[in-house]
């Protein structure tokens, strides 16, 4: 149901909601960037709609709300262990359409891919999602190519225009809270085109796995993992068992983000690692995003937010890599014919 209300009224509603929810949204962290006097847009708690950065794409995605960068799973001592407490409050997350599609990818991995991940589920079950519209495409976005420019899977859509707030609610709590607001038809802003257009090859033949094509990336990639860390669909983690330094009989197990580009990702017992070459790491990531995942789950993993292209310090373009790969696949097909 659509409503027109005011920022004052909406902030009051969020103030009430904050008793039961932590409210997360992309906000500006001044001077927080890699270089001096560069800001970062990333997720943090807000108490007022004015804190939300609507005008720019966030550098990091919402995923850290549901999959913290570092999360203690349980504590152990001698013969006992205790699971870490879940947050006392639920969460409300403001995010864009592409990221809502990213949420589906996270759900697929953590809820529908074999055993349910209880640590993910206990956060996910108590999280509400509020869609932020996109009036214009941002640099490097290719959501239209990935079909993620629109999403209906939100608890509410919210648009701030000066003192006016337009809401499309699918959440009974909000419907009740907005009973006195003016009903209005509200349709989420979404883009229909992006400057970046990506064409994904239908299938990538096995013969291209060792193609010289990947070697150039081996020379360019510095294995920093930024492309993975900003990606809303990268869900890999690793474990860290910690023994407290002043009492080695007690400790905790943490799970932390992992990156298939960073050294150590493929390390095995005995010191063997099977993707030492950075070009092979690029091949693994790219084909996971637009080939392997689809074979298994039916949709592409990549949601076209373009954050990997925004962040790469070596100016490696994932989008351009897919397009070049597409040309390569087509050329290979022609040769066979």
């Amino acid at each position: 149901m659509g409503y027109q209300t005011t920022t004052e009224k909406m902030n009051a509603i969020f103030s009430d909601l904050s008793k039961d929810y932590l409210i997360y949204a992309p906000k500006r962290f001044v001077g927080d960037g890699t270089f001096t006097s560069i800001d970062t847009i990333r997720y943090g708690e807000i108490t007022d709609l004015a804190e939300i950065e609507f005008a720019e794409k966030s550098d990091y995605s919402f995923k850290e709300v549901l999959l913290p960068i570092s999360e203690t799973l349980f504590y152990f001592t001698e013969n006992e262990m205790k699971e870490a407490d879940a947050p006392k409050k639920g969460a409300i997350v403001f995010l864009r359409s592409c990221d809502l599609h990213g949420l589906k990818r996270m759900d697929t991995i953590y809820l529908e891919n074999g055993a349910v991940d209880t640590y993910y589920k206990r956060l996910r079950d108590h999280t509400k999602f509020i869609l932020m519209g996109c009036e214009n495409s941002f640099e490097n976005c290719f959501c239209v190519s990935m079909g993620t420019q629109q999403s209906k899977d939100y608890d509410a859509y919210l648009k701030v225009d000066g003192d006016t707030v337009l809401v499309d609610s699918r959440w009974d709590y909000l419907d009740t809270a907005l009973t006195d607001a003016t009903p209005a038809p509200v349709i989420a802003d979404s883009v229909t085109t992006n400057d970046t257009v990506v064409t994904i090859p239908e299938t990538v033949p096995q013969t291209l796995f060792d193609a010289p094509f990947w070697e150039e990336y081996g020379n360019r990639c510095i294995a920093c993992g930024r492309c993975n860390f900003v990606c809303p669909t990268c869900t890999c983690f690793t474990m860290q068992d910690i023994f407290y330094t002043d009492n080695g009989k007690a400790g905790e197990r943490r799970r932390v983000w992992a990156s298939c580009h960073v050294d150590g990702y493929t390390d095995m017992a005995g010191g063997h690692a099977f993707r030492n070459d950075k070009g092979q790491r690029m091949r693994f990531k790219v084909l996971h995003k637009v080939n392997d995942y689809k074979r298994r789950f039916g949709t592409h993993m990549c949601i076209g937010c373009g954050r990997c292209d925004d962040v790469c310090p070596e100016y490696i373009s994932f989008a351009n890599c897919i397009n070049k790969l597409n040309t390569l696949v087509n050329d290979a097909a022609k040769e066979e014919n």
Partner: protein, 322 residues
């Protein structure tokens, strides 16, 4: 016939050259940054009154050679819009640069452009220039954005090296160790790992920000405040060339400006009154009075941030030819 007061000419930023009848004009550019629109004005002086050539000075100014001494007034008129645009303090409008002893305040390219710089070196250099120019005393001040010291502040009387105090949010760290590797290979190896998290050796850390630059998750960020390492009394020259030594570490902008200004009073008091051309490098004066006497003058009324480390006594080395 030419009848010149060479002492006045030199103070007016003109050089007495080896060519009889010809001088050279030095154009100062504080912080080493200017808008391109000024280049045609400098070109015009060189082509109208000089020999059509321009020398780029080591202190980031321009030197226009081949000017006739008789054309100095005309050149001063053409210098005026450059002086105005670069906001140079000027005692007598229309008369060019009214001092030359305190040299152009130079700066590396800084955080306007460079990924390593911890602050806007140009802005600080301009601020310093406003505080200390014009003055006939021989002072060389340079600003550099980080511990790489590309402007070579350690060959100046005062070198200001930018520092950031890295802030670590451990919950944003997954232990990729990009910071540890960068610090070990590109800086001073001040980071170690304990239980998959990073420990910073605060005594070793030089505040270069490599950890911040290399962190992929914003676990490392910069401190809101910029700090500086103030290095003093480096010099080139015939007798005892040497690198500047640390005086203050984790110092603030205000403290540095105050110390440099205090040094003018110290030099005025202790300079060798018989020094040739009234010019004596500050470092040699400190060699004569002792560091503690200099420190007493320099620190007069200086308010220090609690983080600031004051070094002392300071000893210099370098090569002795005397």
């Amino acid at each position: 016939m030419l009848d010149l007061n060479t002492k006045k000419i030199k103070k007016n930023a003109y050089r007495v050259t080896k060519v009889r009848g010809e001088t050279a004009s030095r154009v100062r550019v504080p912080g080493g940054l200017l808008t391109a629109e000024l280049l045609p004005l400098i070109q015009n002086i060189a082509e109208t009154y000089g020999n059509g050539r321009i020398h780029l000075t080591t202190r980031q100014g321009f030197e226009i050679p081949g000017i006739k001494y008789t054309d100095m007034d005309a050149v001063n008129a053409l210098l005026q819009p450059i002086i105005d645009k670069l906001e140079i303090n000027q005692e007598i409008p229309g008369k060019g640069y009214t001092s030359a002893g305190t040299r152009n305040v130079s700066a590396c390219i800084g955080s306007n452009t460079c990924p390593f710089a911890t602050y806007n070196t140009t802005n600080f250099a301009k601020k310093m220039e406003k505080e200390i120019f014009p003055n006939d005393l021989h002072f060389k001040v340079a600003f550099t954005g980080c511990a790489n010291d590309c402007i070579k502040t350690r060959m100046h009387d005062f070198g200001i090296i930018g520092m950031t105090e890295p802030q670590y949010e451990k919950e944003r760290c997954m232990g990729c160790q990009a910071c540890v590797k960068a610090c070990k290979k590109k800086s001073v190896d001040a980071l170690s790992v304990e239980n998959y998290r990073i420990v910073r050796n605060t005594e070793k850390c030089v505040g270069c920000g490599e950890c911040v630059i290399n962190c992929p998750t914003r676990a490392w960020t910069r401190s809101p405040e910029t700090y500086y390492r103030l290095v003093i009394m480096g010099r080139t020259g015939k007798r005892n060339p040497r690198l500047a030594e640390d005086f203050l570490v984790w110092a603030t902008e205000d403290a540095i400006i105050k110390i440099v200004k205090n040094t003018y009073a110290y030099v005025t008091n202790y300079i060798d009154k018989e020094a040739p051309g009234g010019k004596e490098h500050i470092g040699y004066i400190i060699d004569r009075t002792g560091f503690e006497e200099y420190k007493k003058w320099a620190m007069e009324g200086v308010e220090l941030d609690p983080r600031t480390i004051v070094k002392g006594p300071v000893y210099w080395s370098g090569i002795h030819y005397d």
